[in-house]
């Protein structure tokens, strides 16, 4: 069930109304059933995969807590292997087979048929709920979280429908206790939750889906487009993917908030970052902190030699790229970001001296603006590999960006779509720049008077009705 559908609207109203009507002791069951319905709406049979990992990790959590010495590690490894195994089969098997076949042909295997693909569709949100389940057993192993004895509550931790298919990838310390707590109806909280949903929906259907129309038309015909068109389309893709994913996160956070659950923030205006390292503290926070906590630190983190530290950094981003999808393009995207970070550390003092030499005082607004612009350009360049369907397409697009012939020839395609895109992006950026840099959506609360929240909700609703793409695509991150 897509968040940007009428079906979800009905589902949300029914589930939330019943939720508040039920006594606390039955709410977990209600939410669990609702989450099963939500997930089964995509491909029902795949709920069995979720059930498999839930049973394994639930048992592993209790076994780890009760065991001592090496057995604890053994149970953890068992749980991790089961989770990674599910990912390997459903997400990476066909990619592995493709590469093995390529290798066989490359080594002179001729036109042999090669190894066969698995005829399966990737279960929606597999990487998200698998990582969330893994964080539970790791935290129990590290002693930061007690094993959950209530099977239903643990299942809900993995399956909670607002964040089931595209995160945020929660930590058990943040969420599990909330399922045990009683959440009363709170007027201000419900209103701000609904506003958060509307804001997310605005970003998805008014900005992201309109950008997608333009970006797709350019990227699908990349051979015939030149310089500025490719640069502009890539910048619009950067906005598209941000609004798509952060829009989803806003809807997830708002939906949970209405019922009284606080999920972790996943985005903090990443395109206002002044460096790539800051970008990763503001973009997909739940995933970047997951990799930091469970991979980077496990590899030794910063407490190793400089060379090893750089390798750890680069390797973590490489794996992060691979997490996004079974394609070399994602791996390259991750590797590029790893390189950005390493080069960023190397050149930090040199860049500072350069800024001083041209009169950009540290912390001044021109200095900030230049850094923000540079970070956006670097992120956008890397996004080309993320968006392109093949390596050849990505390199052709980057080559096209650099080709001087007809460079200024900006292809607008449909003037209506182009104007709507500029309108949506500008509106979103203005709200972010002038309001959200210093406040949260939650600050527009009816507790401080009804005028502002009423106007804010009305404006968003009208913008969505008039400018939103009503038959838009699913969220990009669902495929991960």
């Amino acid at each position: 069930m897509l968040f940007n559908s009428i079906q979800f609207l009905i589902f949300f109203v029914v589930v939330t109304t019943i939720y508040f009507a039920l006594p606390h002791r039955w709410r977990w069951l209600h939410l669990l059933i609702a989450s099963c319905v939500f997930y089964a709406y995509f491909i029902p049979i795949y709920i069995l995969i979720l059930f498999f990992t839930i049973v394994i990790d639930y048992a592993a959590g209790i076994l780890i807590e009760n065991a001592h010495g090496r057995r604890r590690k053994w149970y953890l490894v068992m749980s991790l292997v089961a989770n990674v195994g599910v990912l390997a089969v459903f997400k990476y098997y066909n990619f592995f087979i493709d590469n093995v076949n390529l290798l066989i042909h490359g080594l002179g295997g001729g036109q042999a048929a090669g190894l066969a693909h698995l005829g399966i569709i990737l279960p929606i949100g597999l990487s998200f709920h698998t990582f969330q389940a893994m964080s539970y057993t790791i935290e129990v192993y590290r002693g930061h979280q007690r094993a959950e004895r209530h099977f239903g509550i643990y299942s809900l931790y993995v399956m909670f429908y607002p964040q089931l298919v595209a995160g945020p990838i929660e930590r058990p310390q943040n969420v599990l206790h909330q399922f045990h707590e009683r959440h009363e109806f709170d007027f201000a909280r419900v209103v701000t939750g609904l506003q958060r949903i509307l804001w997310g929906l605005f970003k998805k259907v008014v900005v992201s889906d309109v950008c997608a129309t333009y970006v797709n038309s350019i990227y699908n015909n990349y051979e015939v487009n030149t310089g500025l068109t490719l640069v502009f389309a890539s910048a619009m893709f950067a906005i598209q993917i941000y609004c798509d994913f952060s829009g989803y996160s806003d809807i997830a956070l708002g939906t949970a908030r209405v019922m009284g659950y606080e999920l972790m923030e996943n985005f903090k205006l990443p395109y206002f970052s002044k460096s790539i390292s800051e970008f990763w503290k503001r973009w997909h926070i739940s995933l970047s902190t997951w990799f930091r906590d469970y991979l980077y630190i496990s590899l030794g983190g910063n407490r190793v030699s400089t060379g090893r530290r750089y390798f750890n950094l680069w390797f973590t981003f490489l794996v992060s790229g691979f997490w996004h999808g079974a394609s070399w393009n994602f791996v390259i995207w991750g590797a590029i970001h790893g390189c950005y970070l390493i080069v960023g550390v190397w050149t930090k003092s040199w860049r500072r001296r350069l800024s001083d030499a041209v009169g950009l005082r540290e912390g001044s607004w021109p200095d900030k603006a230049v850094n923000v612009a540079c970070t956006f350009v670097l992120a956008t360049l890397a996004w080309v590999f993320f968006r392109a369907t093949t390596f050849h397409q990505a390199t052709s697009i980057i080559a096209g960006m650099c080709t001087p012939t007809h460079w200024l020839n900006l292809r607008i395609q449909d003037t209506g779509v182009f104007a709507a895109m500029i309108f949506g992006v500008t509106t979103m950026l203005l709200i972010e720049f002038f309001y959200l840099r210093r406040h949260n959506i939650e600050d527009i609360t009816p507790a401080r008077g009804w005028l502002r929240p009423v106007l804010f909700s009305t404006a968003l609703l009208l913008l969505i009705v008039q400018f939103g793409v009503s038959e838009g695509d699913q969220f990009i991150y669902f495929q991960f």
Partner: protein
Amino acid sequence: MPAYINQLMKRFLLYLVLVLAVVFVADRALALVYDALYRRTMIGQTGGKINQYLSLPTQPALVVMGNSRAYYQVIPDSFAVPTYNLCHAGMSQVFQTALLNVISTADRLPTTILLHLDPPEYTNPAEQLTDVQNLKHYYGRDTTVTRLTNQLGIVQPFAWLAPLVDSATAAFSAERPKYLFGTYRYNGRVINLVKNAAQSARTPYASLGNGYEAILPSDRDSLTTIYTARRDTADPTARFHPERLRFLRQFLRVCRDRRIRVIGFTSPLYAAPPHEAAACRAFGQFLRAEGVPYIDYVSHPLAAVQGRPSLWKDSHHLNHVGAQMQSHDLARRVAHLLAAPAMSAPPAPAPLADR
């Protein structure tokens, strides 16, 4: 439930009613403005072109319908009879069928329709119902548009009902509630509407011509054509899907009932892959069985434009110079059909939709 929670819920309901009331008033006010702008819009593909056609002082004898491969390639002035190009870029047969109903309801049917047919639409197994969304303005005002839009939005578990029961389709359609907002009729086209309305106000629409829009030649045309032609490769898996003909069948049935002559044609491709030509031949058979003359420029290429990339905008579209050649040839080929006596006068308009 504690009394203070009841109190909070009451406040929330009051708040909700207030928001909905403000939204309702603002929505209705904006819808009135947009309706007024829409009525004045006489150009553009978001309704202006349809308005212009419906407002023509004299009814053209020949109307060209189809997608961009007819929109930019068929010049009405090439024909011996008064002609209007009512094509809309990117629109498939479902749109043409719904549009036929719109002009029929307005009693503006011509005596002959020159219908462009694009083979890829019939070699693609997935139906492209979404194109009917471009006639959103007529939802609730035109039976075919309303029915097809409801079908488009039908919630998955009830999709099997769509071809069977119209009332069930409406009841389970996710599209229907969206039209509770008056402004939803202009969803995604507000900016275009304002722009086109302003432009229509500046220019007298009667002088705007005959619906044709030229793609002027540019120095990049040849390069783009050669580049894009490289993608037109043979697809051995492509096959003609007869089940995709349902909207074309409906279109032809309506025309037959209204005594409208239909002439089918398919515009040339710079480098037609074999499966496209095969689809056109299958088309030819179908149309012959239906008694519809068919001019197929894919299986029988137009010599004047073949192998000359400078006459094309890309491998699928001729530029204005190429369009003149195609239009001239097309006019010559249909001349004897247009000269033949018209079919007997159409009966009084009646709802066509629920067939």
